[in-house]
């Protein structure tokens, strides 16, 4: 009851705000072509996820400054209006409404978290304001409507990435899965991994589950060990994964573990410790990626923000903003429907996190990176995986083109074009190579850094 009335109040407020602005802003909207282009940004600048919002904001600001320095879009400068949602979904919805109806923004950037993007998206869709989420990976976000886009890949893609990496780079054919049944993300990744790994000729020898928050995984791990897999896919979140890693070594399961971006936290190593070394997970971007595009971005970002290293959220936000501005340049005019049209046609946009192409569901089709957990918890770049059918920086190739992706099958990156260093894809970083070989060679006696824990 209280909830309902609160929502009602917010609605009233939004309507009131909207009306007020309609009157005073009337002249502004119809204004001349030299007026600034307003872009709204919604993010969690405060609260428990403040780093998400701040990183993203820095990325967006950098992209905006660059465009403005180069003369803006169609002769107009861009102004970013950022609103804080404190990490609360309702606040995100209110902020979106405010930006649309009282600030008359042309487009929206945000949010990082899928939950909050899902609250914003209906507002953007209803107002025909294009919205680009930099890093919401849940599939449902862009399903809200045709004005909602994202600059990142969706959850299940990571399942494909790991299946590909395990098959092609690690040369494994027997894997086990341990998924978190209480988490859609984990279940989704596990399913896609399972399907693709099997399709690529591998075999899933054991399929086990747990519920997030569990602390004892020994029973499942003992069963997994008995099935003798060469790797264990655990697409969960970092706390659970850290514990799983420790207990895996405890029950004598020493094969490398594989996972997704849910691993990406400094807490991972704090909890899992040395047991995680030699494991791999897929992620959006890596600062260690030797690709010149990324190194150039890292340098620019550091210069702009006092030596701060951009995390993956900053890189994705930078790409989201860049992609939006690119679409604005191509659009026939600066209105919602035209920008939407241009965004939907985005093809091989050269983002720092890879070449971005919009698929028919408005999801970004772009490469993922695989990181290896090295000594002391340092993440080492170990390769880049392209979406099915996409060739690295080859504009002629449409991603997810058809049922038969050309010869790209079985090879991570067949022809790295000039401009791109072949190192990341063809030959993983030194650390990764050895571990990959290790994993492949010692597959028989199932152990990568064996001898460390067992038999004392």
């Amino acid at each position: 009851m209280r909830r309902m009335s609160a929502k009602f109040l917010i609605c009233l407020l939004a309507v009131a705000l909207g009306c007020k602005k309609e009157q005073e802003g009337g002249g502004n909207v119809s204004g001349t072509d030299t007026a600034v282009i307003k872009v709204g940004e919604v993010g969690s600048m405060t609260g428990t996820e403040a780093t998400f919002g701040i990183s993203s904001h820095n990325g967006i600001q950098l992209a905006t400054d660059e465009v403005n320095a180069a003369g803006g879009i169609k002769g107009r400068k861009i102004q970013v209006l950022a609103l804080d949602d404190q990490g609360k979904p309702e606040e995100a919805a209110t902020a979106a409404t405010r930006l649309i109806s009282s600030e008359h923004v042309t487009a929206l950037l945000g949010e990082v978290a899928s939950t909050r993007s899902l609250f914003m998206a209906p507002k953007a869709q209803a107002a025909k304001t294009p919205m680009v989420s930099p890093s919401s990976t849940n599939e449902k976000v862009t399903a809200v409507g045709d004005y909602i886009f994202r600059a990142c890949f969706i959850d299940p893609f990571q399942g494909y990435v790991m299946a590909k990496f395990a098959t092609d780079t690690l040369k494994l054919n027997k894997a086990a899965i341990l998924r978190d049944v209480r988490n859609d993300y984990s279940v989704g990744l596990a399913k896609v991994f399972n399907d693709n790994f099997t399709k690529m000729g591998g075999q899933i020898v054991e399929n086990q589950s747990y519920s997030s928050g569990d602390v004892d995984f020994k029973a499942q791990l003992t069963n997994i060990k008995a099935a003798k897999p060469q790797a264990l896919y655990v697409p969960g979140y970092y706390t659970d994964v850290g514990l799983v890693a420790r207990q895996a070594r405890e029950v004598g399961l020493t094969v490398p573990m594989l996972g997704g971006d849910g691993w990406d936290s400094e807490k991972l190593y704090e909890i899992g410790g040395a047991a995680l070394e030699g494991s791999f997970f897929s992620n959006h971007y890596s600062v260690d990626d030797p690709s010149p595009r990324i190194q150039e971005f890292v340098a620019k970002f550091k210069k702009a923000y006092g030596g701060q290293v951009p995390d993956s959220l900053a890189a994705q936000a930078y790409d989201a903003a860049g992609m939006l501005y690119d679409a604005m340049k191509r659009a026939k005019d600066i209105t919602g429907p035209s920008i939407r049209e241009a965004l939907a046609q985005t093809k091989d946009y050269k983002g720092v996190t890879g070449d971005i192409t919009m698929d028919d569901k408005r999801n970004a089709s772009k490469p993922a990176v695989v990181l290896r957990v090295g000594k002391g918890g340092k993440y080492e770049f170990s390769g880049r995986i392209l979406p099915e059918g996409m060739k690295e920086t080859n504009p002629a190739e449409t991603p997810r083109a058809g049922p038969e992706p050309k010869k790209t099958e079985g090879n991570t990156a067949p022809n790295p074009a000039p401009g791109m260093t072949p190192t990341p894809t063809q030959a993983p970083a030194p650390g990764a190579t050895t571990s990959a070989q290790n994993a492949a060679n010692t597959g028989q006696r199932q152990g990568v850094p064996a001898g460390e824990h067992s038999k004392k």
Partner: protein, 302 residues
């Protein structure tokens, strides 16, 4: 076969910790007929304090020493013992004459106070715990079964403490007084037993055991957070009821059964069923034997 043995080893190790927590529930119930729901959170407090002490004393939790571990454990026992004493003194004692339901609600209140107060003070993020100088990965093998040193320590310390507890209850003056109070408090008082003191002692004893259980649990599973007492506390309570609440040996047996049931169900059925089946066992046993496995009508309580 080897797998079965392996599951049994894990089950016994987990069960020993449940038993250690269950002892606190069962002793308090034996003396006061009160279910002290805050007990699971005293267990959490033990682990949390252990985390603070070990990260302060040994600088880096990665290089703990045995002496440090013993010092940390003793400190946590003292802190939890004091907490137990204070909860009883200021929470339960004033309500001793009032209906049982009032104390029960107070117990639930204390439980939430510790949980959410803990979230406020310690922060909700889980931390990695490493007070003991052994890693859960350190292990040896017997007949193909890997046994980690942590498992051994859990079982060893638990059994040691249970033997000690048995001696206190059945072979010491204060133990005799505890048993007397559990039989009939007014008569015990008439016989010269200081009932308040005995009840305080019971709470302190239970809380001290919970502190040790907290350190062991955190060392075995490596994670401490303010809500960590919830499930183990509940399961220990179930163990106590399973074995016959108020009965010390019953609590040990109950803990063991629950630990084994959990491990075996998650390995041979599914981990999603482990709690459902463990609790179904509880219901079945209580249907057949309402007073719990060892809870005879005439059994000595405490």
């Amino acid at each position: 076969m080897v797998d079965l043995l392996q599951h049994l080893v894990h089950g016994v190790s987990l069960g020993a910790i449940y038993a250690l927590i269950a002892l606190g529930y069962t002793m308090v119930y034996g003396v006061l007929q009160l279910i002290n729901f805050a007990h699971g959170d005293v267990f959490m407090l033990g682990a949390m304090m252990g985390w603070y002490a070990s990260s302060r004393w040994t600088q880096e939790a990665a290089h703990p020493s045995w002496a440090g571990a013993v010092a940390v454990t003793l400190l946590c026992m003292a802190i939890c013992g004091t907490t137990g004493f204070l909860i009883e003194r200021f929470g339960y004692r004033p309500l001793r004459g009032s209906p049982k339901l009032n104390s029960l609600i107070t117990a639930i209140g204390f439980s939430f106070l510790l949980e959410y107060g803990g979230q406020f003070v310690f922060g909700p993020n889980p931390r990695a715990f490493g007070a003991l100088p052994v890693d859960p990965g350190d292990q040896f093998r017997v007949l193909g079964v890997s046994i980690s040193y942590i498992d051994l320590i859990c079982v060893g310390v638990s059994v040691g403490l249970m033997v000690l507890l048995n001696r206190i209850i059945y072979h010491s003056r204060i133990g005799t007084a505890m048993r007397a109070v559990s039989w009939n408090p007014p008569v015990a008082a008439l016989m010269g037993v200081n009932v308040d003191k005995v009840i305080s002692f019971t709470f302190v004893l239970g809380s001290v055991l919970a502190a040790v259980a907290g350190i062991l649990y955190a060392s075995a599973y490596r994670k401490v957070e303010p809500l960590m007492g919830l499930m183990p506390g509940l399961k220990a309570f179930v163990s106590a009821v399973l074995g016959g609440i108020g009965n010390v040996h019953g609590a040990m047996l109950g803990g063991l059964i629950l630990g084994l049931a959990e491990q075996l169900v998650s390995s041979y059925v599914s981990s999603q069923w482990k709690d459902a089946i463990a609790f179904a066992i509880l219901i079945l046993i209580l249907l057949v034997k309402p007073s719990g496995l060892l809870g005879k009508g005439s059994a000595e309580k405490v």
